[in-house]
Symmetry: C2
Subunit: 138 residues, 2 copies
C-alpha cells in the first residue's frame, strides 16, 4: 500500500493496476447489494437486450476506484469525498480491467486532490471514466 | 423487482428501501476489491484519524444505488449510464441506511432519466447524495 501524504501529491502523478472480473465477484456483489437484476444474472435476458453475455454491474466496476484511492493514490491516508463515473461500454465476466488515475488538481486549502480516472478492458476500450475528489489525512 | 418501462417514468416518482451495513458486507467488499485500507479494516487506525469506529467503504455505500436502479427504479429494464456521489458523513458497521431516489428529469430522445439519490442513516443524517442517469431498455 502506498502512503503518500498530502505534500507528496502533485499534478500529473499516476497510478494503475489490473484486475480480472470473476463470476465470484459478481455473486459476492449480488449478495452484498441484493441487486438481482437479470442483465447481470440471466444470460438469456442479456442476449435479448443485445449483449453478448451477462453484463457486469457498473457499480462493481466502479468499486475498483475504492482500491485505486485506498491502496494506490494516495493509499493509506485516503478519504474519498466524491466520485463521478460514466459507463461508455459494458464489462463482461472474464474481462481484464486496467484501472488508472491521474492527479489533475490539488486543493491546498482543504487538502484534497482531484483524480481523473479511467478503466479500460483488455482490448483497450474505455469502459468507465470519471473523476474523484480525495482527501489526504496526513 | 419493479418492471417500469420508459413510458411509466415521470418526474416526481420516488422509490426507497432500507439495508443494514454488516461486517460480512465489509469483508466481501474487501475481498472483491482488494481495498485493504486501514480506515475500513483497523479500529485503532480509525480512532487515530478521529472516527468512532472503522468507516464503511464509500463505494460499498454507493453500491446500493445499483439496487435502487436495478430492482426499484426502474427495476428490470435498468441500464445505468452515469453516477455521481458525495459522502458528507461517514457510515459505520451496523448503520441502517435508507436509500432513496426521485426522478428529476426525463430525456425522451435518448430514453433515459435522471434520479436524484440520497442515502440516510438511522439518525436521519445524509451520508451519501448524488444523481444517476439511467437508461430504460423497454
Amino acid at each position: 500500500m502506498n502512503e503518500y501524504k498530502y505534500e507528496d501529491i502533485h499534478i500529473g502523478m499516476t497510478e494503475s493496476f489490473s484486475v480480472t472480473v470473476t463470476e465470484e465477484m459478481m455473486s459476492s456483489f449480488r449478495d452484498i447489494t441484493g441487486d438481482i437484476n437479470p442483465l447481470h444474472n440471466d444470460e438469456a435476458y442479456a442476449h435479448e437486450q443485445g449483449f453478448d453475455a451477462r453484463v457486469a454491474y457498473g457499480m462493481l466496476t466502479s468499486s475498483f476506484l475504492s482500491t485505486l484511492a485506498g491502496v494506490y493514490l494516495p493509499g493509506r491516508y485516503s478519504l474519498i469525498r466524491s466520485v463521478e463515473v460514466k459507463f461508455p461500454k459494458p464489462v463482461m465476466i472474464g474481462d481484464e480491467l486496467t484501472v488508472t488515475g491521474e492527479v489533475t488538481d490539488v486543493n491546498d486549502e482543504y487538502r484534497f486532490f482531484t483524480l481523473k480516472t479511467a478503466i479500460r478492458n483488455q482490448h483497450g476500450d474505455k469502459v468507465c471514466r470519471g473523476r474523484m475528489e480525495i482527501g489526504v489525512m496526513a
